[in-house]
Symmetry: D2
Subunit: 405 residues, 4 copies
């Protein structure tokens, strides 16, 4: 392995996923934990030249004030998910990252998100100023830390869906909207992804926010030869869905109804209390079923904010299906997982795989990363095993030799 | 489609799976139900020449006295799984089958099964007499009904496991044991499979009884160019397991414990109350997990007889797993399905696929049928999607042209 | 037991609870079922002189067209809850009731309910005309069937909540609103209860509709010496809640969150899809917890319409609680019951107990019937065992001798 | 409140319940936690003169070697139930107790328990020597700490059931068996309770071990005017059962089957892996249902040892019941609680209530403490609310004035 270095710029750097990912990377470096939850650490990736944990540097931005250590402590207190010993072991690492957490933007993100912003938040300025500052931050990070690549990962709260508009569809229209400082069609997520791609930074949209990876941005990534992927990390209920739904297809058992109830108590849950923001989330959750089954059973998904649960997402799913002689049967499942700890290792995986793709000269959307997302862009495969197959095929190609389109 | 006819000889013909399969075939013929639960009716098998429902004739044997209609009525009363209207629609069909249900053998099947036998059950005679009678029955059925093939399906109650012995391993030793009428190494399931294969009848072991498809019998099937497959139909808890377990593998989440509790109230459950018989069942259920995961988490499976449930199997599974930062999380599922109605369409599928294989000149164990079994013989693939892939590959080969080994 | 006869007039007579109650009474009369679900048939009521099943006559009204037998058949087909044999046994009884099912009113019940009304529904007329017709129906039923008492039971769909107004609070104001035909403060449920009480008929509000038992109506019942009770029959999730919640109190375990998700597919569920109507229901469900515990944990209740479930209500409740050393623990329950079949025996119980109360000269609200209702009027006791204690005390008083206030 | 002091002698002092109780008492003294889970801290006991946490001293014995702090750390590590901060806050308190933890006996406790004993465990000696040593310990503890009362609480692992014998039934026979050092009818639990009562110490049997409170011991307690109570603390599944089962009775819904599956991973679970020991436990769990319902539905209870769960007991119960028109319905519940943290506050409650009873001159079995036990001796009330009523009545009597039998 060479001595190249890879930066990770996290949008929403003070959130609990970010805290878990940064703490986890430090613990892995110190060999204090196993890389559970990371596929890039399994035998599948043996002999693949990925960046190691000690080659990765973290930075990022957030609209809130606060400290990474507090976010992690909260995770530890609330859910007992992180032991105090581990917390102490990474205290210093988290504090060192502090100077690299800059002020972000929540431009046009809706009331729920804006209410989180630090009290001394700057008054609204021209979008071009936001873009300039963000690009400047990325360049400074790259230069000072001597990084070969900076992967930008969006872990910010879910924005309300963006309405369709010309600036969504074409790069030229987007440039015009930005020039005109037009709030009606540009949100923070777009400003971030636009800036990242302009700087040639690989970009991962781990959120459901639809503004991040619009056709306009994909167009720009083609020009800048930058890899992109999203949307919405697949960590819990949807993960189980994408593993279970094919079973009904393969047994020719008709799913009559698939009802999902999610409760959670972290910041993510809090923002999703807001109907506007929730609608983005429910959309990415909804598609999976009909895409796997080929028809649309009755299905509704609820997400409720239950503060006492903190990061421990609990989901009940009731699946009603019809079998032989029209007999009606059911399968229920109850998922209880720490949302941030399920997400964090996927973020580390994605950083390593985006860096690899960038180094190999790949660009545009990355279909082989479909298994990481609830709504994988440009991919028809929605059943988990098909998506995993895409990744395995990619690994095989990487092993075979240098990338050629 | 030609006018060829295919017979199905069911061992355990008066049981509820048999009643459901025979009634279902009649209802399908009359176009009164959809073929839910049958994969051979899906688009995957379009253009494949399979026998149609009106080309299939049923017969079989049982150690109990009784009527098929009563078995079906019991299914209807007990679980409300079959509506009275449907029951009436197939009354006549079931009664017509009656004369074709012969007396079976429970030779060396253990106390639990023997206690089910009809009161006028014949005293023990030489094994060769059982074999002769059974072969005679198969020939008569084939001749009188003018059948091209007779597929034999074992749906009888689970026998205690058969101890390893030379007669298990080699055909010559088996022949000797039969000649010597040796109870220590031959059970009813062996007598049936031996007879069926001698008559060139494709044989499906839908039960966990290990006596049916021993290496000795596989050897004989090679000589007689007869297709075979088993063991133990995969209908419920194990089906879900084989769909879900790969998810943990693909996310590198370590399964710490996977505990299963099954309750059911049909005859199957009643026989499995007996520890001897239960041990066969638990064995086929146990393997799946470690074969998929590559390691053996703590795992125990219980099956309890709860009469009030009748055919409605209810299974609770608790899966404890370790994620990032060693956080422990869980997934639980509750499966509620009518066991016989989940099994019956698989039986019809297997009959059609065994007839096809036989017609194409295939013989020995049939790995492409792995997805139908809890413990598919001679197959390494235990995750459901891999098994389904084997079937899809087979279908592709069939479509491509005539069979060549 | 004397030969007195008691009538039951059901508002919503074509609904599934009504069909189940009428069919159940007939089956009980014929001794074809056990009185499961009826407390008045237990040893607690031994030696209490209650009307027998063959002393009860049914009649009622509905805004829909249709037949009782169809409602029952639907219950049988949809949920397999009623066997065809039982259905046939009561066919004639149900048909005989037909001529006694009159056209009801859905005056001011909101869009969701009005859309159910028969196509030839009469144009709106003055409220006094509705009242006259309804009182006339009750008198005719009583006279022709030679009934000593007619108990009126409201089983109609849930109305939107009624806004507070003078006509809600005082009888005089209510009379004025009726005279002025004032839609803003009078709904169908009020017209029914007003008429019933005017005719001296005991009145049970088995629905959450708040218009039925307003203070104004209770005032009228005092004058007319008529017994009343409601609101909202306690059949499923709330029943379990009222049995379980005291456990947390008695162990000093603090309930942090109690989240409830209900799915069902019958007409009740369909009407509750409408937010206006749902709000009445959620209100009666909500109170229970804080009244038992003495504080209000985080709690939200969802009711979703899932057509494939028909009458089989399925409810998941997640209870998060804090124990010693602040450890967080949980209890979940899953309730699967046929809603109409849980309600019907309670209706029969209430008819018998209201007839008894009326005969004994009791009037006004009946606190001893608290255990039957989600929101028992004028009763502080919300834990199930306290409510049952109220009933047992009442039975003891009845046994001790004649009623004296 | 006076300055009297009360001692607690715990048999099984190094176990996790003991560690939690001792740590909890210390944290309560320091006002660092709320008394969640303790009923004696609720308003019900206002104005009742109970010993305060700073009036209680702990001591005890164990057959294992080890430290209290390690037991608590294990509880904290394994289940994340105790935060490290709290652990640190009581470190010193736990260490101070150390010198007061003596070597106990596992005389005749069966292989499973004996295998836990410290390696330097003394060879078997005469029972009288065990008794002398134990009484000596109690006297020393009382004298040195200047205690008015010492309450002995048995928290040791579950012994195999004791066979019926004369020494079980009469005190004279017990004395003879002890004199004869007769292993066939005396176990460690008897030696402990015999010694405690001889010393006039109130005795609580929080375990299912039947040797502790035999009729012979109750006879002795009469003579020594000592209060006693047991058996088997009611902490989880049985607690829920005793709250829920009455609901079915009160609705006249026939329970057809009630199946229970418990999994846990602490020492208790480990010992219960042994069939001999498990049989004692299952017996106390079994009675509850039939005593509440008045009939015995099909019911089986499993307890499985699942190490990864540590102290987090998880129980699934499936309740099948019959309603109106014979419709079958179900209720399931899943309980997830930390066993030791559910037990510890009950232990503190019992200490306070036994001290009160002793001070008031009460002796023999204490029926008002029924709600604390799975199998409350000499009490017919098994439904939780009836048991709580017994306690409330007792509190009322205490408030009314001094005790008179």
């Amino acid at each position: 392995m060479s001595d190249r270095k890879c930066g990770v710029w996290i949008i929403g750097a003070l959130g609990s996923i970010s805290a878990a990912a940064i703490a986890g990377a430090a613990l892995l470096r110190k060999d204090l934990i196993e890389p559970a939850g990371m596929i890039t650490s399994t035998i599948l990736f043996e002999d693949i030249d990925l960046v190691a944990m000690d080659q990765i540097e973290f930075a990022g931005c957030d609209i809130r004030e606060g400290k990474l250590l507090d976010s992690l402590t909260q995770l530890s207190d609330g859910s007992n998910a992180v032991s105090l010993e581990r917390l102490l072991a990474v205290k210093e690492d988290l504090e060192q990252t502090k100077s690299w957490i800059k002020r972000g933007t929540c431009r046009n993100c809706g009331q729920a998100i804006e209410s989180l912003a630090a009290s001394d938040f700057e008054p609204k300025r021209h979008m071009r100023d936001d873009i300039d500052e963000f690009r400047c931050n990325l360049r400074e990070f790259k230069r000072k830390k001597q990084l070969e690549t900076v992967v930008v990962v969006n872990l910010a709260s879910t924005e309300p869906p963006i309405p369709s508009s010309p600036s969504y569809e074409s790069l030229a229209a987007l440039e015009r909207s930005i020039d005109e400082d037009d709030d009606s069609s540009v949100r923070a997520s777009t400003l971030y992804s636009y800036s990242a791609v302009q700087e040639g930074c690989p970009y991962v949209n781990f959120t459901p926010s639809t503004g991040a990876l619009t056709p306009a941005i994909v167009q720009l990534a083609g020009r800048k030869r930058t890899p992109l992927m999203g949307n919405d990390g697949k960590t819990g209920e949807t993960l189980v869905k994408s593993a279970l739904a094919p079973m009904f297809l393969w047994r020719n058992l008709e799913v009559l109804s698939w009802e999902g109830f999610n409760i959670l108590g972290n910041m993510d849950g809090c923002i999703l209390e807001n109907p506007e923001n929730k609608s983005s989330k429910l959309k990415t959750k909804d598609h999976v079923l009909s895409k796997i089954l080929g028809y649309s059973p009755h299905s509704r998904v609820h997400i409720d904010y239950v503060p006492s649960l903190h990061d421990q997402k609990t989901a009940w799913n009731f699946i009603h299906f019809r079998g032989f002689l029209d007999a009606r049967m059911s399968l229920q499942f109850i998922w209880q997982g720490y949302d941030s700890l399920l997400a964090a290792p996927l973020v580390l995986d994605l950083v390593r795989l985006m860096e690899l793709a960038h180094r190999r000269g790949e660009y545009g959307l990355m279909p082989h990363l479909a298994s990481y997302f609830k709504e994988p862009l440009c991919v028809q495969a929605h059943s988990l095993h098909e998506q995993v197959h895409l990744l395995a095929e990619y690994v095989r190609r990487v092993k075979e030799g240098p990338f050629t389109t």
